[in-house]
């Protein structure tokens, strides 16, 4: 099977994640969409690693996973903190800097 199909699938998932980030207003769902985009990038790394026949792609994908895990921890802590002060999980709510 032609491994380019994996690239197409990853592209599709990335775009669905991008639409999720742009359209949804719930901070947690936006965050999950970001995770989906990171996963799509990982799939591209794995597919390229297989196409080029060396393991560097998989190593980079591993590092992406580590960074994504760290990002989730901090991001969710920020969401909890915003929820405590604003009692809302909507990303339109924190707009003090606008005025």
């Amino acid at each position: 099977m032609n491994p380019v199909y994996y690239i197409y699938l990853a592209t599709l998932l990335f775009c669905i994640g991008a639409i999720g980030v742009l359209v949804r207003r719930n901070a947690i769902i936006v965050f999950m969409s970001v995770e989906l985009m990171l996963n799509a990038a990982n799939l591209v790394f794995v597919a390229f690693s297989r196409m080029n026949g060396n393991l560097d792609g998989q190593t980079v994908a591993f590092f992406v996973m580590v960074v994504a895990a760290a990002e989730v921890v901090v991001g969710l802590a920020i969401i909890v903190q915003v929820f405590r002060t604003r009692a809302s999980a909507s990303i339109d709510e924190p707009n003090l800097l606008k005025y």
């Binding site: 669905i16 989906l36 990982n42 799939l43 794995v46 393991l55 591993f62 960074v67």
Partner: protein, 257 residues
């Protein structure tokens, strides 16, 4: 076109992954989104394994569906499961333009990738995996040689992230915690709520359901004795109002029998 096994795996898992991603974006409740994205991640793990990356596939299941999704569900509990989206658009037409942008991005990327990838490069990882005796050994060899600095930096990153999360969610206590003695004194202060137990519901001889209020010594009914959820129901018939004379009559009727 010959039907090989990988194509079947790709169609099933890829299809499920796309369905899950669409479900994640489209579902109303955040919990459903979390479950959908867990499905996407498991399917991606299978696709990693099909791409001869068994270590990454396992790491994907353990790190993402195990740890990250657990964190998401935990925060969903804190934030409130039923926190749904507001339908007010802060920027007018954002939804429409967002969808248009996403579709345009998809067309652009898939078109660009399709032209760039037209030569079917597929060396495969069998040689690279066998060099050190397996996929895990091969990846480990790279991590601990060429990528050693990056690997050690991730240690600093993870510690910083953990500390950051602790500091962000920490709340300073700005008044001392009340001791048991202070709580007890506050309970018996003038104007405080009833100090003892509330009367328990259902003290009639014939009827002890929770919707039966207790009768106080003066013969009146104590609605405090009926649990709050029963009391707050918008139905006046739910509470069994029987005055003390009815109970006396019933008791005398039993004596005569």
């Amino acid at each position: 076109m010959s039907l090989d096994g990988e194509l079947i795996v790709f169609v099933i898992c890829g299809g499920l992954a796309v369905i899950g991603a669409l479900g994640m974006v489209l579902s109303h409740k955040a919990v459903h989104s979390a479950l959908f994205i867990a499905m996407v991640m498991i399917n991606l793990a299978i696709l990693y394994i099909a791409n001869s990356a068994p270590f990454l596939g396992m790491a994907q299941i353990i790190v993402y569906t195990g740890a990250v999704m657990m964190l998401f569900l935990f925060v969903l509990m804190v934030v409130g499961v039923d926190s749904s989206d507001s339908l007010i658009e802060t920027i007018r037409g954002q939804r429409l333009f967002g969808i248009l942008f996403g579709l345009a991005l998809a067309v652009l990327l898939i078109g660009g990738m399709g032209t760039a990838m037209s030569d079917k490069l597929d060396i495969g990882l069998n040689a690279a995996n066998d060099e050190f005796g397996g996929n895990v050994e091969g990846v480990a060899n790279l991590i601990f040689s060429d990528y050693l600095f990056a690997f050690q930096s991730t240690a600093a990153l993870l510690i910083t992230a953990g500390l950051g999360a602790v500091i962000l969610t920490h709340r300073e206590a700005w008044k001392p915690k009340a001791t048991q003695k202070e709580l007890s004194v506050a309970r018996f202060m003038v104007g405080a709520a009833h100090p003892g137990n509330k009367p328990s519901p259902g003290v009639y001889a014939r009827h002890n359901a929770v919707n039966t209020p207790a009768i106080l010594p003066d013969g009146s009914l104590s609605l405090d004795s009926v649990p709050e959820p029963v009391r707050s129901r918008d139905d006046s018939l739910i509470i069994d109002h029987r005055v003390v004379s009815t109970v006396v009559e019933l008791a005398e009727g039993e004596d005569q029998n």
